[in-house]
């Protein structure tokens, strides 16, 4: 009775633990795309596609790479709300570009082709079992035949144990003088895996036999077979145990179980006896030999005909590439897990087979991890004092990249080696930000307020000695070079990251207002209302800083940070669906002026190093080095991507190098690899910003006859009062024409009268 209860409890309860899987965002192919840059072949390989040489009989998951042409049979993508069908397509290539995509046989032009998302990881239970549950109907008959042929040919007729098989095994073992062959039926194997320990004692064998009989009495053969097909152990992939034929088909062949060929089915059946010893990855020739033995058995038992047998024996072993270790995405997986844990327990995540579709860009993630790893190693080589013998005390860093307009996280690398430290420095660490905080002060000063903004980009700020009374005594900010620079243009103050000028500006704007601007931009950490705040003394996470800069990059619209596209349960129901969220928090004109300032920093200022290896296209950014060089930052953006890099020691100590040497090269390496060296897009000037010429030494409007002129941006209605030559009237546009705009002139004239 006791055994019966155990059997029923297991069979009628939840039978299998199925870890939740996490997927990247899908790759999209379209005409004009640089296929080399997106590593098309690598993506296909990781998705389990196989390169073949003949287009005849092309199957889903295969491709033929020819001259200037790729014939690709795209696998179907199974998703409840956005499934993609299997498609036979041809990609015409011109150089490194995809010129055209057409669907066959009709030849219809396709403008965007989705490849399935790549699995980037899973949430395992303590046993680290990975399985892809399948129903009996999903498993092709040929695979069932292969398994029955070699493991239990009388499965359909026996009642749980097979005396003939036991006798045969005993005879074979006697002849061999050792245990060479087992006599267990599929039911016994299932019982052993489900309920019993692997030891070979008489008591355990007796229990196994009794329980197998009980299972056969209570349950249909179909149910027993389905349980077996999902339970059977089929080897190890790293620390993960592969269970069930569904998972094996995915791991070995990169395809659903229903698409397995006869030869592929035979191989899976072949390795059941000794999954690791016979693993095709370990011993391909041995695995093929054993596979052919299974095919011979299938033919002998009349399960396949001679033609099929011959073709299957001749089929070469074609395994899916071993997918990359998800190591570089583990910080991202942890972030998702923390986010999901508010609604789903660890037990649910590790056992209920949820599918988490994330925003992660697999390529950006890989390049981000590489840039950080190599950048830190380079630094240690150049500055040996930064190297530590103990990996747990090594120089650390993090990189986070997101789409500014949507807040989607594209890459998250929380440290240099997840195996050494799982602490995510991008989302869990709070560090002083140094000068990457300064742009928030300038935004506060540039923003329109009653009576006009405190600053325009033609203004000058005062970089002379400053003393501010605080409760802790007088505060006297100093510049990095220990000098004062007098009256300096606002651009120069930020481009050269002058502390004193910025501190004074902070006093003029008001610390409370700076905090309010930082909050609007997306900073959520505690910001103490002290004068030194404007120089970045508050401790903030790199993720918050990335989001705040994303708000500037997207023209003042703050995005909600997104890591999940949607969440689907094991039966295919959508549990959660991502919605993009954003809010306008800064007017587009001010956001553009801030971007223009930060472009100057990247062109001429402390971040000019971003161009040192030839990076082309629009880039804005800011370096940040904290007191004592404990923390090095670089936060930069292009029109389509923002990335923040932080480096330092977990237990703060001086690095002795500035951020332009430490953090900036990591950012540059990442962006160059990601874009191929050319950034797409432009920072567009919104309608409420005018571009006019000014005289740089005074900030006056420049007209013909003015000896020195340069273009500058202004919010409408904030043009300078003074002119060069003095006393001129009218507006000089960026081309130097004296062609006044009625509206601008009116606003400027009106402001002067008030």
């Amino acid at each position: 009775m006791g055994l019966d209860r155990v059997v029923r409890a297991r069979f009628e309860g939840q039978r299998f633990r199925v870890p939740s899987r996490v997927y990247s965002a899908p790759s999209i192919l379209y005409p004009g795309l640089d296929w080399k840059l997106v590593d098309l072949e690598g993506s296909l390989r990781r998705l389990g596609y196989r390169r073949v040489t003949d287009t005849r009989g092309l199957e889903p998951g295969q491709y033929v790479w020819g001259n200037n042409r790729v014939r690709l049979f795209v696998q179907a993508f199974d998703h409840p709300s956005r499934p993609e069908p299997a498609r036979d397509v041809v990609l015409r290539l011109r150089g490194s570009r995809i010129d055209e995509i057409r669907e066959l046989p009709a030849g219809r032009e396709i403008w965007a082709l989705l490849l399935a998302p790549e699995q980037i990881g899973a949430y395992y239970g303590p046993d680290h079992e990975q399985r892809d549950l399948v129903t009996r109907e999903e498993v092709p008959p040929v695979l069932v035949d292969a398994i029955l042929a070699v493991e239990d040919q009388r499965f359909e007729t026996h009642s749980g144990i097979d005396p003939r098989r036991i006798a045969g095994a005993m005879l074979a073992n006697l002849r061999a003088g050792s245990v060479r062959q087992g006599g267990s039926t599929l039911t016994q194997q299932l019982v052993k895996n489900f309920f019993l320990s692997p030891e070979r004692t008489l008591k355990r064998k007796s229990q196994e036999a009794v329980m197998a009989l009980l299972v056969e009495t209570r349950y249909e053969k179909r149910e027993i077979l389905q349980a077996y097909l999902n339970e059977i152990y089929l080897g190890q992939r790293g620390a993960t145990a592969i269970h069930g034929v569904g998972e094996a088909a995915r791991v070995f062949y990169g395809k659903p179980v229903g698409e397995l060929s006869t030869a592929e089915s035979a191989l899976i059946a072949a390795i059941i006896q000794s999954p690791n010893g016979l693993s095709p990855y370990r011993d391909a020739a041995g695995a093929v030999k054993r596979r052919n033995l299974v095919l011979d058995l299938m033919k002998r038992q009349g399960r396949i005909d001679t033609t099929t047998w011959k073709a299957a024996r001749a089929e070469p072993l074609r395994l899916a590439a071993v997918t990359a270790d998800p190591g570089d995405a583990r910080y991202f997986l942890d972030l998702l897990r923390r986010q999901l844990s508010t609604a789903y327990t660890s037990e649910v995540l590790t056992s209920e087979g949820l599918r988490v579709y994330s925003t992660l860009d697999r390529r950006a993630q890989r390049l981000g991890a590489k840039a950080l790893r190599e950048g830190l190693a380079d630094l240690e080589k150049r500055f040996p004092h930064l190297a530590a013998e103990d990996p747990s005390r090594a120089l650390q860093g993090c990189l986070v990249a997101m789409r500014p307009q949507t807040g989607e996280i594209l890459a998250l690398v929380g440290g240099r080696d997840y195996r050494v430290s799982q602490f995510d420095r991008c989302t869990q660490a709070r560090r002083q930000t140094g000068s990457v905080f300064k742009p928030f002060v300038y935004v506060a000063a540039l923003e329109p307020r009653r009576g006009g903004p405190l600053l325009t980009l033609a203004s000058f700020v005062d970089d002379t000695p400053l003393e501010v009374k605080t409760t802790a005594g007088p505060w006297k900010p100093r510049n990095f070079d220990r000098k004062f620079h007098g009256r300096v243009p606002v651009r120069e103050a930020l481009e050269r990251s002058f502390n004193v000028a910025t501190a004074r500006l902070g006093q003029q704007v008001g610390i409370g207002r700076v905090i309010e601007v930082a909050r609007r931009l997306g900073v959520t950490s505690r910001l103490p209302e002290v004068p030194s705040l404007v120089l970045g003394t508050a401790e903030v996470s790199p993720m918050e800083i990335a989001r705040a800069y994303a708000t500037l990059a997207s023209g003042g619209v703050r995005p909600e940070v997104q890591a999940i596209e949607d969440l689907v349960d094991a039966s295919g129901h959508t549990l959660e669906r991502r919605r993009l969220r954003f809010e306008r928090v800064i007017d587009p004109g001010t956001a553009f002026l801030a971007t223009s300032l930060l472009e100057g920093v990247a062109e001429r200022g402390t971040a000019a190093g971003v161009r040192s290896t030839g990076l082309r296209g629009p880039v804005a950014g800011k370096t940040g080095t904290t007191d004592g060089e404990h923390d090095l930052w670089f936060v930069g953006y292009t029109p389509e991507l923002v990335a923040a890099v932080w480096i330092g020691f977990d237990e703060p100590r001086s690095l002795g190098v500035p951020s332009s040497v430490g953090a900036l090269p990591i950012w540059r390496r990442f962006i160059e690899d990601l874009t191929g060296g050319t950034v797409r897009g432009v920072f567009r000037q919104p309608a409420e910003v005018e571009r006019v010429e000014i005289e740089p030494t005074t900030g006056a409007l420049a007209f013909a006859g003015c000896p020195e002129r340069r273009p500058e941006f202004f919010l409408t209605g904030t043009l300078p009062h003074d002119t060069c030559p003095a006393g001129r009237r009218g507006i000089a546009d960026a081309h130097g024409d004296d062609s006044p705009g009625v509206r601008s002139r009116f606003f400027d004239w009106l402001r002067r009268q008030m």
């Binding site: 379209y30 956005r82 509206r743």
Partner: protein, 175 residues
């Protein structure tokens, strides 16, 4: 009138004159707002832009087609993929805004209208043809949230009666 009072009077006179000039300018603007325009369709925007933008726009039109066929989830996915390819494509946000108004999520629709408008402004694409869509979608979304969207909807209908006279923008009308 002595010299000093003349000096005081001059700026006041100028102020009055300028105010009149400005007011007349606004008047002109008001008149142009209600001039009928040809509402823009995304398929007419397509030829412009680089390969990335073209692919993104095509996904938008495919999404609108999916919406026309009642395949709402697929349509939304196509708009989101359009943004994945080109996050600065304002038409993708505009399509999403329309989709959300129809799907009954007006708050979200308002956010998408805001983003579309911001990107259109940044690109300098405030062509008269897009104005009724921005106004109409904002008005429809405001109405749906219980706020007053009537003025925006009314302006959209006056600007582009062909698309907005019924207070509703169909996928076909935007495609």
């Amino acid at each position: 009138m002595n010299g000093a009072s003349k000096r005081r009077a001059a700026p006041i006179g100028l102020l009055v004159l300028a105010s009149l000039l400005f007011a007349s300018g606004l008047g002109c603007a008001t008149r142009t707002v209600y001039q009928q325009v040809e509402p823009v369709r995304i398929s007419s925007v397509e030829p412009a832009g680089d390969a990335v933008r073209r692919a993104s726009l095509r996904l938008c039109t495919e999404g609108l087609r999916s919406d026309e066929r009642g395949r709402s989830a697929r349509a939304r996915s196509q708009y989101e993929r359009a943004i994945q390819i080109d996050p600065t494509n304002p038409w993708a946000y505009l399509s999403l805004a329309r989709h959300e108004v129809e799907s009954g999520d007006p708050d979200r629709a308002l956010e998408y209208v805001e983003q579309a408008e911001s990107l259109l402004r940044a690109e300098g694409v405030r062509s008269p043809g897009v104005e009724p869509h921005l106004l109409g979608l904002r008005g429809a979304a405001l109405q749906a949230t219980g706020r007053d969207g009537a003025p925006d909807l009314e302006r959209a209908a006056r600007l582009a009666p062909a698309a907005w006279s019924d207070g509703h923008l169909s996928a076909a009308e935007l495609r």
